[in-house]
Amino acid sequence: MEEGCAEVAGIDDVARALERTSGGGVILTSLDAIQDWARGYSLWMMPMGTACCAIELIAASFSRFDFDRHGSIPRPDPRHTDVMIVAGTICTRMAPAVKRLWDQMPDPKWCIAMGNCAVSGGIFYYDTYSVVRGVDQFLPVDVYITGCPPRPESLQDGILRLREKVRAESASPSRTREIEGVLPLPSDAPRGEAGESE
């Protein structure tokens, strides 16, 4: 992806140049705001359903708990999607396929681990030889949804939580904006030093 980074780096120089000019910062943040708002309201999802959670994912996108209300359409093709919802147990034989689909998705992409099996291997944690214990072993997961299977409402709550998280993104990846809603991950530095991560 080397040429991809070149383009992205280009945006970084523009962002730095804008910040140096007097009104530039305003333009950049407003551009970020529009971009994040647009991404938040049209998260097209890639249903990576393998087991029982796939049935709940289908139920969530059908008439009773409509996904389309949040502007997110289930698209079967990884190229057209933004968020991959991993629903169900990922076995060692299935993991390379999931990783391959993840790599095929265009860049501003997020991942939702739906159900205990995707979060941590769930009920299949002990005594199994072929289950990947948690999708975050090979995918960067943004939202974890617990439940076995989680109810469609909690799945849609996950989508709305992801909208909050999307607001932290910025056009130039080197710059992230602090939003208060995000819970610090255990691996994050304690609250005090969060300042200089800007």
Partner: protein
Amino acid sequence: MSFVWGLLWGLATVLLIAGGAVIGVWWERKVSARIQMRLGPQQIGPAGSLQMIADVPKLLFKEDVVPAGADRRVFMYAPLLVFAPIAMAIAVIPFWAGWAPLDSAVGVLFFLAVPSIGVLGILLSAWSSHNTLSTLGGVRAAAQMVSYEVPRSLAVLSVVVLAGSMRPTEVMGAWQWWWVPLTLLGFVVYFVASIAEMNRGPFDIPEAESELVAGYFADYSGMRWAFFMMAEYGAMIAASLFGAALFLGGFVWLPGLAGLAVYIGLAALGYRDWRRSMAAEALA
């Protein structure tokens, strides 16, 4: 002077297609949701009508993925080759009495011939994305589009024979009310053939999700994929306007716009009865 005029009209066509696409996508998502007892987008704009306002910037900022094995340059310009013919075809449609942006003696022939360049664009995009499933989709789409051009042209020919001229403005001007029973069958054939031309509705085998994941534009992402969508909606608008102008003639002075008006009227009607049904549901 004609260059500036052409530029201006080109811009107007793109805006027309973009506007049509916004209404088209919203209308399609809402109506299909309504048929499937769902609600459809409802969070942006009244009744979700401005959902495209969120979709288009997102697609703009999407990473532009070109697959490794793909033939880079062909892959990048194929969508343009699909979209451009549709935009060109709109230039020939007579908008009001005696005037069309490109008033040429063989306007009808131009309208029927130019979109078939799109077939080349589809084949190029399918072949260049180096993906077996999309190649299958591309070949199917090409076969379907080429085979449905013949009935479509013959259907339009019936009106041309009645009007005695190939110039769209003259055909529309010479329109008589007793032509309708004569060209009714032609209109139905034209309507069905143009649906097949656009790979929509019952003819969407090339992009049927069930086996080929997304047909010939499987490997396109972001704005490049949106070009294919714009081409599809543009083809819809062009076919309906041209059909309205030739077969229905409409009010002699604004057939094209009448088609557009009917289109928007339907949208408004649909919106009003949808609001009423929502209110009814709320009461029940």
